[in-house]
């Protein structure tokens, strides 16, 4: 998966700079489109995926679905940060401003991003694991439903400067640009899935180490000072 992600992303960036033509209107600056839009789409897909995992969690009660929902939001927040920063850079170059508060697309994305940023405080404000997982799932479903609703509302709203669709009055995105965009989108979605899998593997491994620690701690001979001390700082890690 990681290899496929690397190959597709490298191919996408090669297509961006060596195959896709410069935009007639914006020129070279439009190359940010192939980065900014796929990142934003991957972030929104991640939020929706988190909602779907949360539904599964509430239906089955299996904690793995809550775990996947949590990790999807975690990675989608990283992608959302990327979308906001690259969008601001593109806005500065195209519109002369880092941010336009009157533009519904920008503000709505920021609202979605900030909504999900409240997921962590909400989740960790609850100590009981069961309740924490249940409330987090309800949050993920509600916020996940908000994403497509928000998308539709923005499409219906009057646009100021941010384009809504790929099609223009003269026609859609040219074939070479659309192909490059689709490869970049595939690469970004693959990157999202790869990062989710890495994160899940890392967290599960840490969980297993903690289980082993507890098991060793409980199996210690009675009377022996066997409580395992916290891990001392490792010299090599400094």
């Amino acid at each position: 998966m990681a290899l496929a992600t690397t190959v597709v992303l490298v191919a996408a960036f090669a297509l961006v700079f060596f195959y896709a033509p410069n935009d007639a209107d914006q020129g070279f600056i439009q190359k940010i489109f192939y980065l900014h839009v796929p990142i934003a789409i991957a972030a929104l897909v991640g939020f929706i995926a988190a909602g779907i995992h949360a539904i599964r969690h509430l239906r089955t009660g299996e904690s793995i679905h809550d775990f996947r929902s949590y990790v999807s939001i975690h990675i989608a927040i990283i992608f959302g940060t990327g979308a906001l920063i690259t969008g601001a850079i593109w806005a500065k170059a195209s519109w002369g401003q880092w941010w336009v508060w009157e533009e519904p697309t920008l503000v709505s994305f920021l609202i979605v991003y900030l909504l999900y940023a409240t997921y962590y405080p909400l989740r960790y404000a609850i100590e009981d694991r069961e309740r924490q997982a249940r409330y987090a799932s309800v949050f993920a479903i509600t916020a996940g439903a908000f994403v497509p609703l928000n998308f539709m509302a923005v499409r219906m709203a009057e646009s100021l400067v941010h384009p809504r669709v790929f099609a223009t009055a003269e026609g859609g995105l040219p074939g070479s640009m659309m192909f490059t965009f689709l490869v970049a989108l595939a690469g970004m979605l693959l990157l999202f899935v790869t990062m989710v899998r890495f994160e899940i593997a890392a967290k599960q491994t840490r969980g297993q180490v903690n289980r082993l620690r507890r098991a060793l701690d409980e199996a210690a001979p009675v009377g022996a000072h066997s409580r395992i001390a916290p891990v001392p700082p490792v010299e090599g890690a400094r």
Binding site: G96, F198, A237
Partner: protein, 75 residues
Amino acid sequence: MPALPLDEAGKYVAAAYLVFLALILIYVAILAARIQRTRDQLSELAELAERRRDEAQPPPAAAADPERTAQARGR
């Protein structure tokens, strides 16, 4: 707004792609640090488990000596 000249636009395009690269690198660095920490914890736990096993099993010389075994049982 007219299209920016290439030398001007190039800076912004480079900045956007560098931000993406930086985000990925920061994530990989954090993940690497976490893996390192988990590896350290695992080696510490392995050492502890081996120490426990050694403590639980008496040394072969002591086990073979009937006098020492009797003394140990008397305690």
